[in-house]
Symmetry: none
Subunit: 249 residues, 2 copies
Amino acid sequence: DMMTIPKDDPVAFTFFTGYMAMFAASVFFFFERQSVSDKWKTSLLVSGLITMIAAVHYYYMRDYYAATGQNPTALRYIDWTLTVPLMCVEFYLLTKAAGAKVSLLWKLIAASVLMLVAGYIGEAFVPLNADGTAAAGATNHSVMWGVISTIGYIYILYTAWFGEVKALGDSSGNPQVIKGIKILAWFVLVGWAIYPIGYMCMPGGWLNTGLGWTSSNVDLFYNIADAINKIGFGLVIYSVAKSDSATAK
Amino acid sequence: DMMTIPKDDPVAFTFFTGYMAMFAASVFFFFERQSVSDKWKTSLLVSGLITMIAAVHYYYMRDYYAATGQNPTALRYIDWTLTVPLMCVEFYLLTKAAGAKVSLLWKLIAASVLMLVAGYIGEAFVPLNADGTAAAGATNHSVMWGVISTIGYIYILYTAWFGEVKALGDSSGNPQVIKGIKILAWFVLVGWAIYPIGYMCMPGGWLNTGLGWTSSNVDLFYNIADAINKIGFGLVIYSVAKSDSATAK
Ligand SMILES: CC1=C(/C=C/C(C)=C/C=C/C(C)=C/C=O)C(C)(C)CCC1
Ligand SMILES: CC1=C(/C=C/C(C)=C/C=C/C(C)=C/C=O)C(C)(C)CCC1
């Protein structure tokens, strides 16, 4: 049962800390929502929803991993199906202060749907032997779907660094928003890039076959990346909101 | 148990995402209620109640489906017994801003009771063989009760497009309310029409016998439609309320 956490299993550790950290972050964002000016309240609420949804899914993933020792792939993508679009809402709300139109949100969501659907096919349907090792064609399968998924990722990356999001940041006169958009671009470049590293640890993946990183590392990387992107980026929004609220007063 | 979500079962997927999405939507509506003007607060509360009730029922339906692989028909109609009349309250509150009388609410509720009672008889008491396949008379049974149910649905549709709701929208001078009523009519036409499609996937139903769509698709369509109508329409009300509150300031 889930009370027996092996003392030498970092994946189990991060599932447990991830669960509590997401939970605590939600409480933080929900309370602090009251201390920012009105226009930032929805952003803080969405940050809190992202970590709240993740807390529930981490609760299940933690127990699933403890009980089976397997990657909770379905639960992971169920989480992302909800939290990645909400991250796009977060990005949109930040750029809205600089004049973004709702079409930007739909484009980001469409790109993330491509990214997640391809990633799910790549992970969930990789050809395996009965003992869980990579079967013939596993590497081809994971590389092909990983590349398709990366197209969606690169679209978001491009939008943040050179496209609409960047342009909106430049044209807004608000130094807080400009700063927030710059940090956003770095999160998408560095924080989000941890996920494909995890992906490549699955059986047949390049880091698995090449460096021998086992498939339990998939969740190690995903858990670390989730903490950075869900909690870390939420805290960035929080600090932008606090500074901007102080200026507006 | 429900921890083992089959990787290739979209119905299980939508039960799980549906549960979390309803839950998150309730938190959203309850918090954001504070940021709209007084006359919209009840609408946001009702939106939050609809998704909160649904979250609890999805929790049970998800586990029921995971454990049995069957359609949770009783739980589904238990949910609708509460949430469909609350949707009617939502419609009434929107048109009230344009002068609707409470008799409109009772007429909408009466029509939805007809729709749901007939639908339940059609689904729950369809003649089945011991192995769950359609028995003699299944198609007749499901078509007859489906048609009776559709009478209630068409009454609501008529009211929204050509009847009292439409007239009230026209006579109100408020552009936000007019816009909201127009969107309402489209939700009833398109969003609600997904339910009868799901219904026709049950054993003996036209899409089941005609196109071979199996009965697990019943819940797939119901889950998608519920997300659109419960969360989507709630968000429409929210955006109408936000715009109207901003204008009123
Ligand atoms: C590029 C790529 C991937 C990217 C995943 C990402 C970028 C996930 C981001 C999740 C976030 C930001 C959640 C926050 O709430 C996959 C699907 C692993 C498959 C391999 C290729
Ligand atoms: C017409 C028709 C049906 C319509 C169901 C509808 C329209 C349900 C709406 C539910 C909503 C809006 C829930 C929101 O909270 C049934 C009963 C499937 C039976 C077949 C004929």
